[in-house]
Symmetry: C2
């Protein structure tokens, strides 16, 4: 009998994962969702080899279960189904916060492994109709394995990363992950929505360049998802925002003071940092 | 004799303009620069039909002069050459601030027209070696004509916009331009450099997604250029930054308070604004 890879939640990420994983290691890819329109769309577009609304049944026969729900949904799912996984099963997720998820995964029996996973990919859209198999190509995949995770399971996740086209695999601790993600991802979303709160937003049509589009693209976010992500990582995010507010204020004061020399030396410092950072990754706009 | 279109300053924008304007309305495109390596590169790569370091001579025979220097360079050039333009000449520029430039253009004799111009295009690079003819495709071109600018000159600028592939032409006043650009462009650069001043910048490698790249892309900026742009538009930019600081602080406090309901309603408000804005333009990243 073929091994089963169950993806719980066929939204943007779960749907894309189901498409990207087609044919992976001989697994049958089983998609689980409660929404009938989502299941119908998935069936009609071949998102996953099989789809079902019966999470209990799917989990029971699963060799790997990947939870692609919103953060709170993942916590709730683990609580509800903690005794339904078969021994030796690997449970993983795609959540943008890891401490809360890894902590909750402590409720699983010792025979069930859990490896936290966060593919650094996404768009400003949501729902299976925006899913696409190439979603993860060129992106980082972050893993937070347990100390007791089996080498076979860690290796399977690494193979998965390669199969879906990730650029690399980064292993870290949940706390480290959450501190850094507060900076690289959550804060970018807070900046984007804050910029859009300016009363000039609608009068600036015709005046936006690529820097404005690049900064604000993610402002049209999934409200439920990001409320949970921000709330479940509030201390780290607050600390990042305090640093940003301070750095912005320093620039604001240099501009207001009309001190060209100060401004120039500050800009030289920051621009050099960015050049040194020399982020890899696909170019945004020329 | 062929009409002459003189481009003063063959940097990223001037070089791209010289390439994009090749063949425009039968003009001979003449590039002016003081840097020998730039002139050599331009000659070898056909940037402009002719190139020269003799600004005085080029200006004397010009029907159109487009100033593609840094802001302070434009102000200085107008002062130095104000009596060198031939009667009926159209002078224009590509500067990201318009009030200071239009004010300075008041020094030109009445027989010389001036139309402020700002193509909303650019990259994080500088220099003629990064110039490319497609630079302006799909971008906005902003014009600030004088009340007394001739219809023929305004029309020529509109034809130019179409020729180089701009999406549209927006006409406005210098003050309105500068207020909006402080928001859509200058503030984006202040945000980008401020984010890069965070001490976590270098430890976050492997954790950046497209939102981080989109927000920080422009941080590797041309220090001299942006020092001038910020300084010459300090009041408008300071006002924008004060609004941003306030909006960010409100989000920061909602996150810190752990008030999910408040956070959710704020995010719903901002995301809806972004969706309503529904910015046109090329997609950044999927």
């Amino acid at each position: 009998m073929k091994k089963k890879f169950v993806i719980v939640g066929l939204g943007l990420i779960g749907g894309s994962m189901a498409m990207a994983l087609k044919g992976f290691e001989g697994f049958t890819i089983v998609g689980v969702d409660l929404s009938q329109p989502t299941l119908r769309f998935a069936r009609e577009h071949g998102v996953g080899d099989e789809v079902t609304e019966d999470a209990a049944l799917a989990v029971k026969g699963a060799d790997v279960v990947m939870l692609c729900l919103h953060p709170q949904g993942i916590l709730d799912f683990l609580e509800t189904y903690k005794n339904a996984f078969k021994p030796g099963c690997l449970v993983t997720d795609v959540c943008g916060i890891k401490s809360a998820v890894m902590e909750k995964a402590g409720c699983l029996p010792p025979s069930v492994d859990f490896i936290g996973c966060h593919p650094m990919a996404g768009t400003e859209f949501s729902g299976v109709e925006h899913a696409f198999a190439e979603m993860f190509q060129g992106s980082h995949l972050i893993l937070t394995p347990r100390a007791e995770s089996t080498p076979e399971h860690v290796s399977l996740m690494e193979q998965l990363a390669e199969y879906i086209g990730c650029r690399d695999v980064v292993k870290t601790t949940p706390a480290q992950h959450d501190a850094i993600l507060a900076y690289t991802s959550q804060m970018m979303h807070i900046i984007a929505v804050s910029v859009c709160d300016d009363e000039n937003l609608f009068t600036c049509k015709g005046y936006e360049g690529s820097s404005f589009r690049g900064c604000t693209r993610v402002a049209a976010l999934d409200v439920g998802l990001w409320t949970q992500l921000f709330s479940l990582n509030a201390p780290a995010l607050t600390a990042c925002l305090d640093t940003l507010l301070e750095n912005l204020k320093t620039y604001r004061d240099a501009v207001a003071a009309g001190d060209r020399e100060l401004l120039s030396s500050k800009l030289a410092f920051s621009a050099a940092r960015k050049r040194e950072m020399d982020l890899p990754g696909p170019d945004l706009l020329t």
